[in-house]
Symmetry: C2
């Protein structure tokens, strides 16, 4: 067995990470980035899909990752050199070969290399984007031997798609699509046109297909391309050439692929390739420019660091790259106005072939190559990317907060998706069984809070001033939460869709709503959550959509979130700090607040919940009728009293949720009885611990204890040195699953239904008819028995029934990075001298190492500098690229570098200084576009690491220049002296 | 290159066709039949899908044929014997191997065999259905050498699907589906359960997955199955075993696969496999019974023939098998009543992975294994299968006619689909861009006519009596054809959907319609067609749906069918023979007829068309208001006059459509001008020639001339010795396609739009912007120019834009078999002594040979005894199994055997007697269940073939026994004396 080995190397002046013998690893999936709308996803097998803009403009079929991984023998490049077929597992003369794969740390190029030791030949090819030219494949064949070799070469690109095929059509009707295909070679050239003879429509009307995908080749001597022409079959680009390869020399050639060219563009191409040498030069130049452009973008967003830790630098670059690809970056800075305008470019909807329910759409440049302003994305994705972005462009933070607040509804929730053009909410589509409505309450508190905190750190007075500005609007979502009594009776059916309002919105004529203050908005969000507060259980999730982890979506209805409650704790604490004067809020809000406050007098859980629930209902009733627009002054004292009382109530609940094993409950189940609410617990979840650490309730000591408890618990996965979302559980086997307990067999109800709904097997076991997938359609008198067998009350959702994504045994890296950030925050609040500091630091380092940039490729499962979404139990990392993880890791990086902001002043003070993180004596990074150099001075005997308490703080004015990126302070050098 | 060779062989007592070195052929696709709901489609590569009932209950993914063909390395069986991997093209030690594939002539078993000459081993496996047990794979490893061999065996079934995955989900979301998979091994057994941990739903509710797909193995010594268990990945059944194989001995083992087992069924299986020897015996017995059952079904339907031509016998068996699988056969015979009841069983909706738009659903047995009565299918599919069936079960013919007539509408058309529960029509689905409405007018005349002819031959008096019975109803389809003027103005938009009536129908409360007579029904159908008669052009197709060939669907609107006109000619002739008395028809029909008759006085094309079109409109206006139910007597003389006049008019038109090359136009284009209708011609089509030959207009001499002309034309494809639907045409290349003619470039309108809708390339060419796929959205002043460039008036539909199915260069075998039948019919009408007879016979034989049962496998592209739908220009036969062709070939076979019926009497008189068609001196076949033996007596010097004029005719009484299948005449032996 050949050994897998990873290392950073340079190829033609570009920096790569190379994995030798990658074919000994399980196939892994890779995303290539580009500076334009070019996209590519490929497997380490060589199977790939790529194109421009969207899956509808693909050069190779856009199927799910499992299919792309398998497709390599029939899709994509295939080269035959004499009798040798590199990268194929197809039958061929047995030669001694070895393979390598390398990805550029910029993230836009990949190289496959196979050396044939028997023949003394090495073949490699690279994929790279080249802007307006499209995707480039550059292939090189080297003669490593001392003899000349006669080469008979067949070089193919298989299964090239024609222009004009929809993703779904290709997926479901590929055999029909094949019947329409025609591949033409422009006479006398290497230019092939991949076309549909017509666009597929079922109408009896002509539908001319007037664009084509194109492939041409450059650099192959005396090549014949005639086998490319075909009709009615999958397209393939076929080049054949015979040439001599001198000893220790090589031959290089190019394929250039692009989509959707019209006649004018094809004529352009014909001229372009008429002078091949010039064309090659232009292509190489475009590849370089593409890399430069990507570096420039990442550079602008503080993604370039130069430290002694290459792996770390590469990972940080990738984190910033993917964060920017998701959320975009600002075209104009600093902002020109005080609105919610966000002149973002480069962002796109995320999606990749391992997430078939997400489809991307990249629109980053206009026809002239100029950046396009715009953004769109799910609420819960895009704000997190903007949060990380705000550390580098802090002056837009209040704009983001405005966007956030303006996109919350008067009843206190947020819509599904936002874009520069407004908001989207879900609508029931009768034809689509996957369609559904509800409020995705996740992150509402914590996202807003983190944005507010950033704003506050950079300019507390500005934020305080905004509190009073009556300039915030309400999003109009036609969901109508039912009455409290209705929701209690059926919490899984809590929303009415207001068809009338929906139609008015569609018609551009929604019911107008008054503007309000930020203070009002901040309170409404909090009060809405509090109106669902079930003491000792958490925030009742009754808006049909889950909190963070939608694989736990079945918690909705009977689940209560301690996670949200923990975040509310920090939110309330922050409000206490922020608000220092009386505020203006809507009359309705003030009434709401007072009604909630009323609940804090004693009473049992049910009584409390009834009062806050009813308060929520009363507030909504007014809101749905139309806000009055009346504002009232709320005295600071009343707010302070409210916050104190609320905190008291929250803290009581968090403390009550400490488990015997030292961890905390994340979600609980509630069950309404006549006079009270029964609370039952679930298994521990990583999210709950992150939330408690983030809540700021625990002391450093308590935090360290919790981290110790987690490390000792079943959440920890030894093989990956990291934490799962929940302990891996054994599911019942098929034979165990649907079985009546022995003691139930003699019940009259069993006898009643035996032979109809209940069935007996020949070994005496009794089973529910397999068609009853839940109790809904069972007769009433069987429901208890069914529940006894299946325990659906504790059903948490998909998380308990699958093995990928957020499923059983999986590490979901985004949550691990949230944990890292939370521990970093605890450390920031902790004195260096605190006895808990070393323990906390040890946990921080351990979690960080688990994330993986220093892992071996075969341990990680892919290029370790690339972020991925999750690691299931049976394979390496999955879902490359745009994971939420990158945002947390970017923020944690500021902590590691010791950059912090307080009251508008920047402080540099890394808590730990590790000499090997320096190149020589320097460590360089960018912050708000300012180039920072740390220069290390070691006094005395060198150590592996130093704790550091010293700090350098800039003045407000200096800091303001940096925040504004005004060019006044382009470089900053700081000396770190340690001993 | 190893040579491909086909031959019939016997394997373990079963009859097979074997192709040696099939791996030298392009991969081909195969359908396996079964006597139950078990289905399997596989590629000669070994890739496959199979399951029960529908694609939703599959054991391997149901993808399109192109994907299944490629899937063989990752899906289905994979065996590793020491280092040898049979049937793989994956890298392995280079051995000398040879491969064979064999399919049983019963059609339900397939064998893959690979011999490793280097190792002296032969490995083969068979797939066979085994009724309630599911699909069986029987594998055998033979040691051909004289030394014992130590075998290390890994035997896998890869990518086994769990129960409970929808086809679309698997297709689009397979990577997600994988996350839910769990494969369990029942402890201590070889039984593996392939499950989803939950059923995929996006609702936050539990959805228990309580069934599983199952695989177990029998017969492997000391096997270990533990590698089968897995979670979160594709299921695979893995057996490992190590054993010694003695010289010249073999080891056989079994896999048995089934779907959707509940807990009770799994317990059953556990008991079943507890005694492996008994289980193997039971499985073998079930495989045998499954074959026997299939033979019994085909036998009942006259599918078994025993002649000297094995290939022919096998093809006939296959034809009857597939005709029965489509249309079913009767459970009760003779019929008990005189209704439209058809107690059919075994039929199913057709569909296979090469027709992704058709999905099958097999429901042929109830839970106890008893046949289920029912049928469903597209109108144009199912009646053709019933036509062939009626030769074997003639006494149901009038039931089928009743079903046919009752399923036509009062306005003279037929619905989309029929079933034993009624009719279906298409409805516009706003969400589905492929949905559409319209009347599929195809086959309406010719299907009905052929059924009437069969009825008439068997019992003319009975049919005549039915003419007067007022017992026929109207189908209620809520389509409302517009007024004649509206249709003329926009013939591609001719139907209004009557929402009100649709709702009434849905509610089970349609507008009642009176019953009427058969005579009335027969006339309405004819008059409706005549009301669209454009003299010299054909029957105007203005009901939004095409005639036979829906790949020509764009003809609808401006196309006129000479094909239908030809069939009408024979229909009218038949009416003249059939009707010998006054008849009772509806007042509305009589008015309609007289209005049409009025048009036959002179006038130009437009005047004629206006009159008949207006007659149609007037008739429809009454019908849509509700038929009066009033009947009137129509005198025989009036009908005779009408028929004569109609025939005169039709014949004029057919003759006018003779082309210069001796062939006839099939479809024409019409264009309404102010005072007339311009007619333009298209290219010749095979369908048009078939229709003219069928029309009975031509003399034998003229028919032979037409066939000569066809053979000399571009319709003929030399390589396949057969006829394409139309001549293959060269399509414009991309660079030729969208180009303004030079002379147009200076037009003012070009200058006006240059740079916007028109674009100039750098070589001076001017092109329409690629987004204009047809002229619809262009400004009015550009439409003419667009038409000049694209000639959309002559756009016929998909047929001109694709290369598979009915596309360019394709032979569509159903139409070839219609040609064969048509020539056979001409021969039946021709005296032996006619000088045209030898020419006609020569054409008959040539067409028949072209169809292919005697072709070499590599010429045909698959097993030559299997019917396939079409042969494109770039590959062998495509779409195995249920092609309409089988019906024509079954009927032609009666002609070849010389079986005919006239006036209730059966005559045996083969026109040509070929001694090599006999085994020894006998040729045996079944006819209406009676076993017929032809015994050949040759006098004088033997010849290759004899023309025969002698005939044996049974009495009416004898014939009636045979028609009734009453067991009175089970065997019949006839001596054929030739000299």
């Amino acid at each position: 067995m050949k050994k897998v080995k990873g290392q950073f190397i340079w190829i033609n002046g570009e920096h790569f990470y190379e994995i030798a013998n990658y074919d000994q690893m399980k196939p892994f999936f890779i995303s290539l980035a580009s500076d334009t709308d070019l996209w590519m996803y490929l497997s380490s097998t060589g199977g790939l899909t790529c194109g421009r803009r969207s899956p509808g403009e693909a050069l190779f079929p856009y199927y799910t990752d499992d299919k792309i991984t398998e497709s390599y023998e029939f899709t994509g490049p295939r080269t035959i050199i004499n009798n040798w077929i590199p990268f194929s597992n197809h039958q061929q003369p047995v030669c001694k070969i070895s393979r390598k794969i390398a990805k550029s740390t910029v993230g836009n190029q990949i190289v496959f290399c196979e050396e044939n030791h028997t023949l003394g030949l090495r073949f490699s090819y690279l994929w790279a984007p080249a802007g307006k030219h499209g995707w480039v494949r550059r292939a090189t064949l080297e003669n490593l031997s001392k003899e000349p070799v006669r080469i008979r070469l067949t070089d193919k690109l298989q299964n090239v798609l024609p222009a004009g095929v929809e993703r779904k059509t290709q997926n479901e009707f590929s055999t029909l699509v094949d019947g329409y295909k025609k591949t033409e070679l422009v006479p006398g050239t290497s230019l092939a046109l991949f076309r549909m003879e017509a666009i597929l429509v079922d109408r009896a009307e002509p539908s001319e297909s007037l664009t084509c995908n194109t492939v041409y080749a450059l650099g192959l001597p005396r090549a014949d391309y005639s086998q490319t022409e075909s009709k009615g079959v999958r397209g393939a680009y076929v080049a054949r050439s015979t040439f001599n390869l001198q000893p220790l020399s090589s031959q290089t050639w190019y394929n250039v692929l692009d989509v959707s060219k019209d006649a004018v563009a094809v004529h352009e191409l014909m001229h372009f390739i008429a002078t091949p040498k010039r064309a090659i030069k232009a292509i190489e130049e475009a590849m370089r420019q593409s890399t430069d452009a990507l570096i420039r973008i990442v550079h602008k967003n503080d993604g370039i660091q130069l430290t002694g830790d290459e792996a770390n630098d590469a990972r940080h670059f990738a984190n910033v790259l993917f964060n920017t690809m998701r959320g975009g970056y600002y075209l104009n800075y600093p902002p020109q106005s005080d609105t919610e305008d966000l002149p973002l470019t480069f962002g796109r909807r995320h999606g990749d072939p391992s997430r078939p329910w997400n489809l991307f759409n990249i629109h980053v440049q206009d026809e002239n190559g100029n950046p396009v302003v715009g953004y769109q994305g799910n609420w819960r994705d895009i704000f997190q990317n903007w949060e990380a972005l705000s550390y580098s462009y802090p002056l837009y933070t209040n704009h983001i907060i405005a966007k956030f607040l303006n996109a919350t509804t008067a009843d206190g929730y947020n819509p599904y998706r936002i874009s520069n053009e407004g908001i989207d909410y879900e609508v029931i589509e009768p034809e689509n069984p996957w369609s559904n409505i509800g409020y995705w309450g996740d992150h509402q508190i914590i996202y807003l809070l983190r944005l507010l905190e950033i704003s506050y750190k950079h300019d507390p007075q500005k934020l305080r001033a905004l509190l009073h500005a009556r300039q915030y609007s309400f999003a109009n979502v036609p969901y109508r939460l039912k009455s409290y009594a209705e929701i209690v009776a059926d919490p899984k059916n809590s929303i009415r869709f207001d068809d009338e309002e929906h139609k008015r919105i569609q018609a551009g004529n929604p019911t107008p709503q008054p503007l309000t203050t930020m203070a009002d908005k901040l309170l409404i969000t909090l009060l809405t959550k509090l109106s669902n507060f079930v003491p000792n259980a958490g925030i009742w999730m009754n808006t049909l959509r889950p909190e963070w982890n939608d694989a736990n979506n079945a918690l909705v209805g009977y689940g209560a979130s301690m996670v949200t409650l923990c975040y509310m704790r920090r939110y309330v604490t922050f409000l206490q700090t922020l608000v220092q004067t009386d505020i203006q809020i809507a009359t309705e809000t003030l009434d709401f607040l007072r009604a909630i406050r009323h609940a804090y007098s004693n009473g049992n859980t049910k009584q409390f919940t009834d009062i806050v629930g009813t308060a929520g209902e009363q507030y909504r009733t007014k809101v749905y009728k139309g806000l009055s627009g009346e504002m009232q002054t709320m005295a600071l004292e009343e707010l302070q009293d409210f916050c104190t009382a609320t905190l008291h109530k929250i803290d009581e609940s968090i403390r009550a949720n400490k488990r015997e094993d030292g961890m905390y409950e994340a979600y609980n189940l509630i069950r309404f009885t006549d006079h009270d609410i029964e609370i039952s617990h679930l298994y521990p979840m990583l999210e709950g611990q992150v939330a408690v650490l983030t809540s700021e309730l625990l002391s450093p000591e308590q935090s360290a204890d919790l981290l110790d408890a987690m490390h000792a618990s079943e959440l920890y996965r030894e093989d990956q040195r990291s934490y799962m979302l929940y302990p891996n559980r054994r599911r019942k086997t098929f034979l165990e699953l649907n079985n009546l307990p022995d003691e139930a067999k003699s019940l009259p109800v069993v006898q009643k239904y035996l032979g109809s709904i209940l069935k007996q097997d020949r070994d005496g076991g009794i089973h529910f008819d397999a068609k009853f997938r839940n109790a809904n359609e069972l007769p009433e008198d069987l429901k208890d028995l069914y529940e006894q067998v299946f325990n659906h009350h504790a059903f948490t959702g998909r998380s308990g029934t699958f093995y990928k994504y957020e499923g059983l045994g999986c590490i979901y890296w985004h949550m691990v990075s949230k944990l890292l950030l939370a521990v970093g925050e605890v450390l920031q609040r902790t004195e260096l001298e605190n006895p808990a500091t070393p323990r906390l630091l040890m946990h921080y380092m351990t979690i960080r190492e688990g994330i993986g940039s220093h892992k071996r490729p075969d341990e990680y499962g892919a290029f370790p500098f690339d972020p991925y979404s999750h690691t299931p139990s049976m394979a390496g990392v999955q879902q490359p690229g745009m994971t939420g993880q990158v945002k947390e890791d970017i923020i944690s990086r500021w902590f590691e570098l010791g950059v912090s902001v307080q009251d508008g002043q920047i402080t540099f003070s890394p808590m730990v200084i590790i000499p090997k993180d320096f190149i020589g004596d320097t460590l360089q990074f960018d912050y708000c576009g300012t180039h920072i150099t740390y220069r290390l001075k070691i006094e005395g005997e060198p150590q592996i690491a130093y704790l550091n308490n010293a700090k350098a703080t800039l003045t407000k004015e200096q800091s303001a220049h940096i925040f504004a990126r005004d060019g006044q302070i382009n470089n900053l050098e700081l000396q770190l002296c340690v001993k």
